[in-house]
Amino acid sequence: MKVRARDPKQAWTEDFESSPVRDDGIETSTISGIPLKPLYTKDDLPARADELPGQFPYTRGIHPSGYRGRLWTMRQFSGFATAEETNRRYKYLLANGQTGLSVAFDMPTLMGQDSDAPTSRGEIGHCGVAIDSLADMETLFDGIPLGEITTSMTINSPAAILLCMYIAVAEEQGVPASVLGGTLQNDILKEFIAQKEFIFPPAPSMRLVVDSIEYCAKEVPKWNTISISGYHIREAGSTAAQELAFTLADGMAYVDACIERGMRIDDFAPRLSFFFDAHIDFFEEIAKFRAARRIWARWMRERYGAQDERSWKLRFHTQTAGVSLTAQQPELNIARTAIEALAAVLGGTQSLHTNAMDEVLALPTDKSARIALRTQQLLAYESGVANTVDPLGGSYFIEALTDEMELQAERYFKQIEDIGGVIPAIEASFFQKEIADSAFRYQSELEQKRRIMIGVNDFTVDEEVPIDILRIDPRLESEQVARVREVRRKRDPARCSNALTSLRKAAAGKDNLMPYILEAVRAYATEGEIMNTLIEVFGIYTERAVV
């Protein structure tokens, strides 16, 4: 019997159309709502020259050797209770093969207030470590050689103060600022947009960011002065494309502000870094990371005229998605995190935090923190995925999705520009509303079972086995309060009050504030005292609450 030859593509289309299709009502679009075709072929490949890693526009990665040259940094975000306890956890993580530190501060520290402020009640040491003054910072890094490790600090409104404390501890260890390596989050725009840990109004907030970038360009040249973050935007409910677009728009707003200060693009752009979320929709995330590099490279070279290749390269840290974790059947979070971490690695991340399975319930225990770190080691050393540079490059699907991400981001840039830029868009609640809309859409899809979260809206179990969670001893609160009061008693009062007076005067003028903050820190002024001095000059910001 003779079979008539059919055109293969035509044949596939006919065969697909005559095949049964699942009708479980579950969306086939990405988690962000991008419609997907069931099959991608070479017809979907963008018509552009073959890109290569280590070459403009870096879609395939910023290093020609990918992870063959160097693996990503395994950087677990941690901090809880007191500086002393967190110091112990850091030593434990370093002993277990972690390659960089990442400090989580508690809410009072993040909000620039001391542990004995009335509104710190109940918050001390709960979601990070409590740092009130240089004395706590000395304890936090006791016995950890700051010249040999790199440290990331997740802090924003009071970022300049914490950086100065780090510089001061290094000085005491005999380590000059010029060799210090690490990252300061210092991204105030995404605070206004998503995480909402703002204190000062936008203009003085931006001044502090530019002050720290300008200061570090001269004094702490190996420091990543800012980690422009999509993570919080995504966790607040945005789509992948919104995360990409809003984050890069923030990045350009910082570039504009530094240029306005009179800095040359190539003097600061190489130290800008980024921070993205790795959510559960595997391919969409990989496409997002690839698109981010391409867009940034293009804008830096073409719009800002950067000539140093390092200014074109978007380097980023990734954290797996906290929002994708479930309190129900929490052990499943290990599997979710592994999938998300793999997406980050295939997307070419420079450093990675993997969430612990119990982070949805409380701070991670030693055991769950170790499993999270081991998940990264498994990817690096067992799975083989680090052996090939950008292994998904050239995939019909990935390349098409990368282009789609880029297209959607460019559309948002246009919209933001039409509103007048990032800060006017914040003041008009543009981002906040976009994010709340996306969060609500996703929640509605879950309610309708058009999206499934295992253990939450399907595949549930009746009996939950409780897992151990880490609890913060309530005595810690009074101990930390006593500690900050002792610091105030013991310090040289004249040196401290002079430092704060000088800072206040400088804040009212135009000087770079970093040297003044550094002096106040060295004089053991507390974080709250320094912030309150600045608030006297800058005022505070109140958000218009939109639902």
Binding site: P108, T119, S120, G122, K196, E235, T326, A545
Partner: protein, 138 residues
Amino acid sequence: MSPTAVRPVRIIVAKVGLDGHDRGVKVVARALRDAGYEVIYTGLRQTPEMVVDAALQEDAQVIGLSIHSGAHMTLFPAVVQELKRRKATDIIVFGGGIIPDDDIAALKKQGVEQLFTPGTPLQEIVEWLRKRLPTSPA
């Protein structure tokens, strides 16, 4: 308004504590509004005193609290205490956030009537309110 109309149920939805994680509170506020309640969202960083002030000023029957910083054991009972102090114990208090099971039991004993944790269907919150408040919108 017709004279027989029942006064709409008004809910103060508030973020207490220092954290700014407002995704959950906004989603819940929208769902309650869609279910026919009058919802007033206070915004971020409300102290227990501010929340109770708002509830009394707005003549609210219900207060919904949200927190993600771990300070719930301090701040949720503080709202209940403040209601007692202001003799407004008829106002129902419920809450949500990242709250371990053991804490839920303890908070219920201290007068927080119900707690909803991540993954709770919005409908479950609405149904709980309807049962708890027979005058709820249908």
